[in-house]
Symmetry: C2
Subunit: 227 residues, 2 copies
């Protein structure tokens, strides 16, 4: 049976934002475009490692530190700090995926409460949604900067539920990342996997309740109309 | 002051093993060679995420699951499982870095106890060290499969200390990965960063006690002779 959540918690990076332009930022500084994917996976790897050891680091600090390590192979020492900042600044100028605007409007029009919950800063989410013209569809923009720990720690989802004033049974996490869906499930929250490319869901992570090809498809599956 | 550990705990993957040949395995199945680095970072990302949610997954299961997701873009569905196994089998056939054999022998000859502690299986470490002819230099090959949690959780290092019968103050972790050194430090263990490429250590991780360009250099710095 498809869940009927009253609150949708959206992951932000890659789930709402299209990170494809980051490849161009790496090319700009003389690094291979493929480093964009390695960097982002490594950023999360280090953020989760610090979560394991009991810390709650700033996303931007980890992003910057990993970039500084990974660009040394491609950028001279004298240009390294400028290159790091050039790549990082691209992160604040991304746009949403093509399905996001209509999907978000359909979900919002159906009366579902829309909230973001990011390991990144709320400011990055605000800029992204503002540029897309859908900022007013969202009730709150939450970051683990205000939570005890990063997602996928249960405390991160519990923080969002507490702020929204709903039990886990009334919420659903929406994300492209299996690790995020796994964490939400472990915290008792229903899950929707956004699978835009037709991928394979890894069996080491808890399977999602709903799989959708985009936010419009999710809106249809949740009975919220859609494009 | 340089620490004088009685036990050296060696990380295995990338610290002892040279993972460069994995790129060829990805090329064999029609995927870009750059995916090797993204895959390994993503494998650790997912393993750490599961550590955060309280699980202790098998390294090979996570390795396989991430590969299955990441190869779908490059390999037909009918060939996907074979491609995953082809890449994975390369992991069991790696060789050590050029500095490892002489470095390990110098450390062993100086009377320091040598132990491996891997998030992967002890069998992979055994095969690697056997092929290199230095298996007899190691007192024990430990895996977090027998520990409560993966590195960098404190329980992983505590497990190794307990098996070796030494306090944290007598041990040193040797690794190329800052996240591993950070975790060891949090568990009270001294740390040596093996930096073969002349990288930049990220400031979001606890700085190492010793930085060495390879295991021979580490042996020299610890006063254990060396090549």
């Amino acid at each position: 049976m498809t869940p009927s959540p009253s609150v949708l918690l959206f992951d932000v990076n890659e789930t709402l934002s299209d990170m494809a332009p980051m490849a161009g930022r790496f090319a700009d500084v003389g690094a291979p475009t493929s480093l964009a994917a390695t960097w982002f996976a490594s950023l999360l790897r280090d953020g989760f490692a610090l979560t394991v050891t009991g810390e709650n680091p700033a996303f931007a600090q980890v992003a910057r530190g990993v970039l500084g390590s990974q660009l040394t192979e491609h950028v001279g020492r004298g240009e390294l700090d400028d290159a790091v900042e050039h790549v990082l600044s691209g992160f604040g100028q991304l746009d949403v995926h093509p399905d996001v605007v209509d999907g978000v409007r359909a979900l919002g029009a159906a009366g579902v409460r829309l909230v973001t919950l990011s390991n990144g800063s709320a400011d990055v989410a605000r800029g992204l949604l503002d540029r897309a013209g859908v900022l007013d569809c969202f009730e709150r923009l939450l970051s683990v900067e205000q939570a005890p720990r990063w997602k996928p720690a249960p405390e991160a989802y519990a923080y969002a539920l507490e702020v929204c004033g709903v039990p886990a049974s009334e919420a659903m996490l929406v994300a492209v990342h299996p690790w995020d869906l796994h964490g939400a499930r472990a915290a008792g929250v229903a899950t929707a996997w956004i699978d835009r490319a037709g991928g394979r869901y890894p069996d080491h992570m808890a399977a999602p309740d709903v799989t959708a090809t985009g936010l419009g498809d999710l809106a249809r599956q949740l009975g919220a109309g859609g494009a």
